[in-house]
Amino acid sequence: MTASIQPSTRDDVRYLLPLGDACLVLSHRLSEWCGHSPILEEDLALGNIALDLLGQARAVLTRAGQLDGQSFDEDQLAFLRDERHYLNPVMMELPRGDFAFTQARNLMAACWLLPLWTRLQASSDAEVAAIAAKAVKEVRYHQQHAAEWVVRLGDGSEESTRRMTTALAQLWPYVNELFATDETDAAAERSGLGPAWSTLKPEWDAAMDEVLAEARLARPADTPHVYAGRLGVHSEHMGHLLATMQSLPRAYPGGVW
C-alpha cells in the first residue's frame, strides 16, 4: 500500500506531470521559508506564492491522474512516486538558498510559468484550460513580486548586488532545461494540449531582460549544461526532498488524513 506507483507513459500525462511537479516542488522549497524570512511581510508573500503553486500542482496532478487511466489521485501521485518518476525541471528542487537565490528562482520560474499558463488557457483539454485561466492571474502576481525583489536587491547595497549576481550565476545552468523540447512536446502541440516548452523562450528572455535591465544586472552567459528532470534525472537534492515530503504516507500504510 506504500509501494511506489508508476504513472503511465502516455504523452498527455508525460506533458502534464512536469508542470504539476514543477509547481509542487517549488512550492515545497518556498514553504521552507515559513517563519524564517527577513521580514514578516515576506513570510506572508512567500507562503502565499507557495500556496498558489500548491493549488496549481493539485489541479494539474489531479488532471494527469484522470488521463492516466490508473485512477491515481493527487496524493498518490505526490506521495507514492519515486524520484525517477518525478518530472520537474531540476531548477525547482535546488535548496532554497539565501533570499536572493529564492527571489531569482521565483522570477525565472514565474517568467516561464506565465507564458506557459497563458497558452494553456487555449488548451484542447478543457480542464487544463480552466486550471490555466486561474493560474495565469496568480503567476502574474508572483512574477511582479519576484521582479520587485530582484530589482531591489540587484540595485541595492553592495552585498545584495553581489548576492543577486551569484544567485543568477548559480541558477543559469538550469535554464536550458526549461526550454528543452522532446517528443512529448511535439505530441502536445499536435493535439493542442499545450505548447512546446521551447516556444516559451522568447517571452522568457524578454521578461528576464527587462527585469535585469531595471536591476542593473548583467545577464549571465548561456552554458551548455544539460539537465533532464523531465526524464526523471534529478540532482542529489531531490531524494532528500522526497524523503521528507513522503515520509508520513510511506510510514502509515492505509492512513486516512
Binding site: 509542487l24 515545497h28 514553504s31 521552507e32 515559513c34 517563519g35 524564517h36 524570512s37 527577513p38 521580514i39 514578516l40 511581510e41 513570510d43 506572508l44 507562503g47 502565499n48 507557495a50 500556496l51 500548491l54 493549488g55 500542482a57 493539485r58 496532478l61 493527487e74 496524493d75 505526490a78 506521495f79 539565501d98 533570499f99 530589482v151 531591489r152 536587491l153 540595485d155 541595492g156 547595497s157 552585498e159 545584495s160 548576492r163 521528507t244 515530503m245 515520509s247 508520513l248 504516507p249 502509515y252 500504510p253 492505509g254 492512513g255 486516512v256 488524513w257
Partner: protein
C-alpha cells in the same frame, strides 16, 4: 487627574479608547506589553506548525496548514500595527523579543513531534487561545478590539479545521493513526490548560487589567470554560483526556479537573522548557540573516529617491 477621571469614566461607560485619545501611561504600557506579546506569540507560533508543512501527509492538509500558518503571520501583522498605534515601533517590539525582554505564549516552547500534534494544536491550543481572546473583542482599546474580532474569526476556523482533521483520523484512520492522536492529546492537554496563566491567586496584574477592560474574565474562569467546552468534544472524538480526576460535578455545574503541575509551568515560562532556546534562536537567526535584505531594500529606495529628485 481630571483627564484620568474622564478616561476612567469612558472605560466605565464601555467606550472604546482610540489611538489619538489621551490615556494613562500605565494603561498604554500594559497594552503595548500585552498586544506585542500576543503578536510575538503569533510569530513564534508559526515555527512549531511550520515544522510540518513539508511533511503534511496529503496535499489538501498541506494547503490547509500552509494557509493557517500564513494567517498566523497575518495576525502578527495586525497586532504589531495595533501596538504601533500606541507609539512603539515594530522594530522596537522585535528587539524586545530578540533580546529576551518580551515574552510570547509559553505553549510554543513545546515541540510538535507527530502530525497529530498539528490537529491537536488546532483543537486545543487554538481553542484555548480563542477562549482567552473572545473577551478581548470587547477590550477597551479600539484598535486591539477590532484586530481581535478578525483574529478570533480566523482562529475559530482553524480550530474547526484542526478538530476535523482529528475526527477524520479517529473515524476513518488506522489503529496507528488513532494512537498518534491519543498520544498528541496526552502531551498537549496539560500545557493547554496552562495557557490561561497562573491561578487567580498568583496572578497579581489581573485586577488592574480587569478594571481597565483589557481583560474581562479571570484566568481560572477562562480555564474552567475551556475544560467545560472541551470535554464533550473529546468524547465525540473518542479519545481520553490524561486526567484521572476529570469528572462532571453536577453541583458546580462544571467539570472538576486535576491539579496542574505549576512547577512545570514556571519552569517553561522561566526559559527552561524543551524549545525556549531554539525558538528564540530561530527567530533571532531569521532576523539577523535577513539584515542584508532589509538594508538593501532601504539602500535601493534611497538610490531611486535620489535619482527621481535629480531627474
Amino acid at each position: 487627574q481630571q483627564r484620568n477621571d474622564a478616561f476612567e469614566a469612558r472605560i466605565e461607560a464601555g467606550d472604546f479608547i482610540e489611538a489619538k485619545d489621551w490615556m494613562p501611561e500605565h494603561y498604554r504600557k500594559t497594552l503595548v506589553r500585552q498586544i506585542s506579546q500576543h503578536a510575538h506569540s503569533e510569530i513564534v507560533g508559526m515555527l512549531p506548525e511550520g515544522n510540518w508543512i513539508t511533511r503534511a501527509p496529503s496535499l489538501k492538509r498541506k494547503a490547509i496548514l500552509l494557509a493557517k500558518v500564513q494567517d498566523e503571520g497575518g495576525h502578527g501583522l495586525y497586532l504589531y500595527s495595533a501596538a504601533e498605534t500606541l507609539g512603539t515601533s515594530r522594530d522596537q517590539m522585535l528587539d524586545a523579543l530578540h533580546s529576551g525582554r518580551a515574552k510570547y505564549s509559553s505553549i510554543f516552547n513545546y515541540p510538535t513531534l507527530t502530525w497529530a500534534d498539528i490537529g491537536v494544536i488546532g483543537w486545543l491550543v487554538d481553542g484555548a487561545a480563542i477562549m482567552n481572546q473572545v473577551p478581548l473583542c470587547r477590550c477597551s482599546y479600539g484598535p486591539y478590539a477590532r484586530a481581535m474580532i478578525r483574529i478570533c474569526r480566523e482562529e475559530s476556523f482553524h480550530q474547526r479545521q484542526g478538530y476535523e482533521s482529528l475526527l477524520t483520523m479517529m473515524r476513518d484512520g488506522t489503529e496507528a493513526q488513532k494512537a498518534l492522536v491519543q498520544d498528541a492529546v496526552n502531551r498537549w492537554w496539560w500545557p493547554s490548560l496552562m495557557m490561561f496563566g497562573p491561578a487567580d491567586k498568583d496572578s497579581p496584574n489581573s485586577e488592574q487589567s480587569m478594571r481597565w477592560g483589557i481583560k474581562r474574565l479571570t484566568n481560572d474562569e477562562l480555564r474552567q470554560k475551556f475544560v467545560d467546552a472541551t470535554v464533550p468534544q473529546a468524547e465525540l472524538l473518542g479519545i481520553s483526556l490524561p486526567d484521572a480526576d476529570l469528572k462532571w460535578n453536577a453541583e458546580r455545574d462544571h467539570y472538576d479537573f486535576g491539579a496542574i503541575d505549576w512547577n512545570e509551568f514556571w519552569r517553561v515560562v522561566g526559559g527552561n522548557g524543551p524549545c525556549n532556546t531554539e525558538r528564540l534562536q530561530t527567530r533571532v537567526k531569521a532576523w539577523d540573516d535577513g539584515a542584508w535584505v532589509r538594508e538593501a531594500a532601504l539602500s535601493h529606495a534611497r538610490k531611486r529617491a535620489t535619482e527621481a529628485k535629480a531627474a
